[in-house]
């Protein structure tokens, strides 16, 4: 029994019926992969569709499909498999018969743990089980967190005998009798349809597990411990692991009584984590409890109990169960918790109301339907809740596809994110919602575990070339239907082989079907030429300004230490060019004692002084390279050449590696002033604070054209700007923007400034050692009816869905605006697939495929409730950058405000409150949008009135376009934590057993600060700890190891490692924050009265500054505009 049960469980998530004679039982599963195909267009003949698919969607290298990829002709699988296949095929195709009684079946499937042999059951899929009972079971198993309890199966066994009895009809009638009452109670015609769609009630257990499995929350347990190696507070002296972990293991449990901690900021309702949560965390034996689910947080309890997360989740439906069944204890537990998270008076009252209402729900059904609808979106008044930020990390909303397997298989929100978790079915609906539709993708993100598949044939749709993914539909064992173009494709024989168990059979056990992020090692037909070696060329500005900034020294040091860690195989090549008014080439020929420098003075017509040995093999000439790196820092100390021939140097570097492709890294410290691509100073320092910002566009197209040439030769150019003066980043950034490079900017760089030097060094180290993909292309495919409208990021758009990325790096993010071309009303889900084809640094051609599946919704409240605020902000920022380049910054700022107004207006419209709504109503899933937009308006990229250097602004705009979402949000709205009371905070253990305190997020406003406190602001690459003047002596001594407040120097850039608990907690906390970043941030500890405090204070963006509105004023402004 138990083994059987396990197997069932295994096969159910795959979306296929189990093989062992259960095809009958699983009949109701037929709505395949969450989609009921009888209602969708998929049943229509695929042949029609094929012709409609544009040839454009075929891949660039459209080779003849090799014989191996063609389906095997004479395959004869085992009889049993075949039979099951046939059964299954029949069932899945002839949708209509089993669904003739759809009211029963969906619930029948709720007990997948069924040990009934195939023969026992009638051929027809009508489940003879007493409907009421089955229904109850499904709810029970759902509520009780037990995936198919023993109770459950027993119940089924009792009913087994009744199979042959003719009570079949009777039971059906029973249910039918039930139904009208249900419908009455809801007074919703949608009901019927929903019932049909209910496929398989997932058990709560798995839903709760999802964040852990999927790791969208970068929780500690998933981070590899090795990351700690390069954390900020590296100190070998302190034994971190064992001895220390013992101490706090006892202390937090004893020291923190479950009493409300006295917060130092009493007047405001700062959303601290309350003891309730602490207790819960302590009591649960898991090493790490994921942060409270946003979904629980946001959605009302009734919704979290929503049994069948079918495609259209509507609040009334959820209350079906609330009405009929007592609310489970678990859910009631959630309620007090929930009210703790949301410290707003309004919502608390609402929630209390809801608690009270639950018992009476059986009586006034109609009224409640209306109320519940309201609760479904749980709106709140922005003006009345100043502390809108949740105390924990803002969790991305989950996409609910209606089948837990599909939900689990969906792409991680860190990689792929859509601005809505439900796609509107038509353009008009999208416009009504006023939300931007788009996707953000971080395709080459460093992943902890990634399925790599090495196979001879990659299974792809023959029409649209989509890679097989978890969301395809299996017609039978040998055919699958593409989920993007709906063509039915043959499945190659190999695909039925499961590499893990090394058995043939069920294709749904393949990793391609189990995971939507997958990497293939590409066979030969994916290569146009032999995979290129890793080639790196470094262009070093050696003009006077560069020498004075002192970056060369740092660069040479870092490169010397990381030379062995540069990604690449034995073929790795490296070259150097120095440039001021002339070009300095370094010949590293075999047999030389030391590098030869060749200076080319003719920069107008660039030529290479010698044909080879400028780019040399790293392994073979390591000595010479190291020699060069020791000589370079001092080589130009006595040169007073102020010119900079960047254009010529780029052309020379292009010539050097045009035949292979590779990466050019440019270190630029001054405005390129001579040779091709020379620029003039355009910025007027007096107008830095002006409202009109000019010169955001390039002055000439030299760099853009060169970038396109580079892109064609698979060369990417990365920029490190270490300037002290204007360098016209708007123009020279073109070289990176269109060659898929990245841009680093260190304004006013001086190597003597420790913090800056440290930041530069860390960036450079990360840059040199991170993964790299060469000669890459990325193609975004989406379901027919959708199309990619605009791309955002650094790349060159080769065709409507193909991005050319000469290099791809793990820190690059991309955004796409999506438009709806055709109505999607006959679809239940849409998919986006991003396929990144690249050459790894070891010379392997690989394809990384990410697939995101999003359900389609048809009502405005649904769409508005599905908004992903962070993703929306990320996309808006990208669109605003385009807007400010194409028209003006003022336009972009206005557009931001208009978006906020539009969204709030449409929400108000959807609430149907009329004009009586006094405040600024907003749904829970959009509550942070105005906050982020007001932060964006004060961001370096879009602010006006405050003096902003043009280069800084342009760099910030480039970041908006290219940063992955999590770092972008951190830039827009940095995280602020109180760190003076870490001992009182709840803790969690990370994978190393270290205790990580969990201080709450604070709003970025001065009212959250306290003179008795210390506050850490995490801005991504930089962390600042502000120490208040009256912070406790204990904190100063034990955490910072300083005797008094005044003895904190202005140059405190690290945390001492002490043997005190407070210090450990702080260190652990900072390490924990750093673990989520590509490289650890620099730390600056400043006193409240130090001259540096402005860098902290200016980030308190909710407060009013002389030229910009405070958040509250911004809300007031919105309120006057929202109609």
């Amino acid at each position: 029994m138990s083994t059987h049960g396990n197997m069932t469980e295994q096969s159910v998530p795959n979306g296929l019926p189990p093989q062992f004679g259960k095809s009958n039982i699983m009949t109701p599963l037929l709505p395949f992969n969450g989609v009921d195909s009888s209602h969708s267009s998929r049943t229509s003949s695929p042949a029609n569709r094929i012709q409609q698919i544009p040839a454009s969607q075929l891949p660039p290298s459209r080779t003849v499909i090799p014989a191996t990829q063609l389906p095997p002709s004479g395959m004869k699988p085992g009889f049993s498999v075949n039979q099951v296949t046939q059964n299954y095929a029949n069932l899945s195709i002839s949708q209509t018969t089993p669904l003739s009684s759809p009211k029963i079946q969906p619930f029948g499937t709720s007990t997948p743990l069924l040990n009934i042999s195939k023969n026992d059951l009638p051929a027809e899929g009508i489940s003879p089980i007493h409907a009421q009972n089955v229904f109850k079971h499904s709810i029970q198993s759902h509520f009780m967190n037990v995936p198919g309890s023993a109770n459950n199966t027993n119940g089924r066994h009792q009913h087994e005998p009744s199979i042959q009895e003719p009570s079949n009809n009777l039971n059906t009638q029973n249910l039918m009798q039930d139904k009208p009452t249900m419908r009455q109670s809801l007074s919703q015609p949608v009901m019927d349809k929903q019932m049909q769609k209910i496929v398989l009630p997932p058990n709560q257990n798995q839903i709760a597990k999802q964040p852990i499995n999927f790791g969208s929350t970068p929780n500690i347990s998933q981070n590899p411990s090795q990351k700690f190696n390069h954390n900020l507070f590296l100190n070998q002296n302190v034994p971190k692991t064992t001895s220390q972990s013992k101490i706090p293991a006892t202390i937090p449990f004893t020291n923190t009584p479950p009493v409300m901690r006295t917060t130092p900021i009493p007047p405001q309702k700062v959303p601290y984590i309350t003891p309730v949560q602490q207790i819960q965390q302590n009591s649960i034996p898991q090493p790490f409890l994921p942060p409270p689910l946003q979904s629980i947080n946001q959605q009302p309890a009734a919704q979290s109990s929503n049994v069948p997360p079918s495609n259209i989740i509507q609040p009334p439906k959820t209350n079906l169960h609330a009405n009929r069944y007592p609310v489970s204890p678990q859910i009631q537990n959630n309620l007090p918790l929930q009210s703790h998270y949301q410290n707003f008076a309004g919502s608390q009252v609402q929630q209390q109301q809801r608690q009270n209402v639950f018992p009476n729900q059986r009586t006034s059904n109609v009224v409640q339907a209306g109320f519940n609808k309201l609760w479904g979106q749980e709106n709140l008044d922005l003006l009345q809740c100043p502390n809108i930020l949740p105390p924990t990390k803002v969790e991305p909303p989950r996409i609910s596809l209606g089948q837990e397997f599909l939900d689990a298989a969906n792409c991680s929100t860190d990689i792929f994110r859509c601005t809505m978790t439900k796609i509107p079915e038509s353009t008009s609906l999208l416009q009504k919602s006023r939300l931007p539709l788009g996707i953000l993708i971080h395709p080459f993100k460093d992943l902890d575990h990634l399925h790599v598949i090495d196979c001879s044939t990659i299974v792809r749709c023959r029409a649209c070339r989509t890679y097989i993914n978890p969301f395809v539909f299996f017609v039978d064992m040998k055919r699958w239907k593409c989920n993007l173009c709906y063509r039915v494709n043959e499945l190659p024989e190999e695909f039925q082989f499961d590499p893990e168990t090394k058995t043939y059979g069920d294709p749904s056990r393949r990793p391609e079907i189990k995971s939507s992020t997958i990497e293939y090692i590409a066979p030969l037909e994916y290569t146009l030429r032999p995979p290129q070696p890793a080639v790196y060329v470094f262009l070093l500005d050696v003009s006077r300004a560069a020498v004075e900034s002192g970056y060369i020294h740092t660069f040479c040091n870092v490169l010397t230490t990381t030379l062995g860690n540069l990604p690449g195989d034995a073929r790795t090549q490296i070259g150097f060019i120095g440039y001021n008014s002339a070009l300095h080439f370094y010949s590293l020929a075999d047999g030389l004692n030391q590098p030869h420098e060749m200076t080319v003075l003719d920069i107008d017509d660039v030529f290479l002084p010698c044909p080879d040995n400028l780019v040399v093999n790293l392994q073979e000439r390591k000595e010479l390279i190291l020699d060069l790196l020791t000589q370079l820092p001092t080589r130009f100390n006595n040169s007073y050449d102020t010119g900079s021939a960047l254009g010529a140097a780029l052309q020379a570097a292009y010539k050097m590696i045009a035949s292979t492709g590779g990466r050019i890294t440019v270190f630029q410290s001054t405005l390129p002033s001579v040779g091709p691509g020379a620029l003039t100073v355009r910025e007027d320092p007096n107008h830095r604070a002006g409202v009109e910002v000019q010169h955001l566009n390039p002055a000439n197209d030299f760099y853009k054209r060169l970038a396109l040439e580079c892109s064609c030769q698979q060369i990417a150019v990365d920029l490190f700007i270490v300037n002290s003066q204007y360098v016209d980043l708007a123009t020279i950034s073109g070289i990176s923007r269109f060659s898929s490079g990245c841009i680093y900017h260190f304004p006013l760089y001086k190597a003597s400034r420790i913090l800056q030097a440290e930041n530069f060094e860390r960036n450079l180290k990360r840059y040199l050692t991170r993964k790299i993909g060469f000669e890459a292309v990325m193609r975004i495919r989406c379901t027919r009816g959708l199309s990619i409208h605009t791309f955002h990021g650094n790349f060159f758009v080769k065709s409507t869905d193909l991005l050319s990325l000469p290099n791809v790096n793990p820190d690059a993010g991309f955004g796409m605006q999506v438009s709806i071309d055709e109505s999607l009303s006959d679809l239940h889900t849409v998919c986006f697939q991003a396929a990144l084809l690249y050459t790894s640094s070891r010379g392997e051609r690989r394809i990384r495929v990410h697939t995101l599946c999003v359900p389609v919704a048809s009502t405005l409240p649904d769409i508005l409730a599905s908004a992903d605020q962070q993703c929306i902000v990320g996309l808006l920022a990208k669109m605003a950058v385009d807007r400010s380049m194409q028209s003006s910054l003022a336009d972009a700022r206005e557009a931001f405000i208009n978006v906020a107004i539009d969204i709030l207006s449409s929400y108000k419209l959807s609430l149907n409150l009329g004009t009586d709504g006094g405040g600024l109503q907003v749904s829970n899933c959009l509550k942070l949008l105005p906050l982020y937009i007001s932060a964006l308006l004060k961001h370096t990229a879009f602010r006006t009135g405050t003096s902003t250097r043009l280069d800084d602004r342009v760099k910030a705009m480039c970041d908006m376009k290219t940063l992955p979402l999590y770092s972008l949000i951190q830039q827009i709205y940095p995280d602020l934590y109180p760190v003076h009371n870490l001992l009182e905070q709840s803790i969690v253990l990370n994978v190393d057993g270290e205790e990580i305190p969990q201080p709450p997020h604070l709003q970025l406003t001065a009212r959250c600060l306290d003179s008795k406190g210390a506050f850490l602001m995490d801005m991504g690459e930089q962390m600042i700890i502000l120490i208040g003047p009256s912070v406790s002596e204990v904190f100063l001594n034990e955490a910072l190891s300083v005797s008094s407040y005044n003895s904190i120097t202005d140059q405190m850039y690290s945390l001492p490692i002490l043997d005190t608990l407070l210090n450990q907690r702080l260190t652990n906390f900072i390490n924990h924050l750093n673990d989520q970043k590509p490289f650890s941030a620099t730390l600056h500890i400043i006193r409240e009265n130090s001259p540096n405090r402005s860098i902290f204070i200016e980030r308190l963006i909710e407060d009013r500054i002389e030229t910009a509105l405070s958040y509250h004023e911004f809300l007031q402004h919105l309120k006057t505009q929202v109609k």
Binding site: F702, F796, K798, L802
Partner: protein, 144 residues
């Protein structure tokens, strides 16, 4: 039937207009190819850009002739297009060579549809004006 200057200007306009029709046809086809991924945007821009100025100049040329011939009505119906051309070229993206189309921004769906629509409208306009010029030519030939 006298061969006068207005008739000459109409004949030139007829010939020029035939060329313009071909230009706009080419334009429409080129953007269609871009949309359906047959061509690389860099190549396509390289082939389109050199044709932009000749088209504008050709159009301007016979309008100058109309002005010289005193064919005010013909000039009037062409004025909006001339104004559009001037504005279009004035607001072109920063580029060193002649032309309008930037391979990095042309694949934007908005730009693509705008350019395609522009091609169709121009084609229609040139076709209609072709018959008008034919009529004008005959009219001016037989009127005196």
């Amino acid at each position: 039937m006298v061969f006068n200057f207005p008739a000459f200007s109409y004949i030139i306009a007829l010939i020029g207009d035939a060329f313009l029709i071909f230009f706009s046809l080419f334009h429409v086809i080129a953007f269609d190819e871009l949309k359906t991924d047959y061509k690389n945007p860099i190549d396509q821009c390289n082939s389109l850009n050199p044709l932009v100025l000749p088209e504008y100049l050709l159009h301007l040329l016979f309008n100058v002739l109309f002005a010289a011939a005193g064919e005010w009505f013909s000039l009037l119906i062409n004025m909006p297009l001339i104004a559009y051309h001037i504005n279009r070229y004035r607001t072109r993206p920063v580029m060193s060579g002649p032309g309008l189309y930037d391979p990095t921004s042309i694949m934007n769906a908005d730009t693509l549809t705008r350019c395609q629509r522009e091609g169709w409208i121009k084609l229609a306009f040139y076709l209609l004006s072709f018959f008008y010029y034919l009529y004008g030519m005959i009219y001016s030939l037989i009127s005196t």
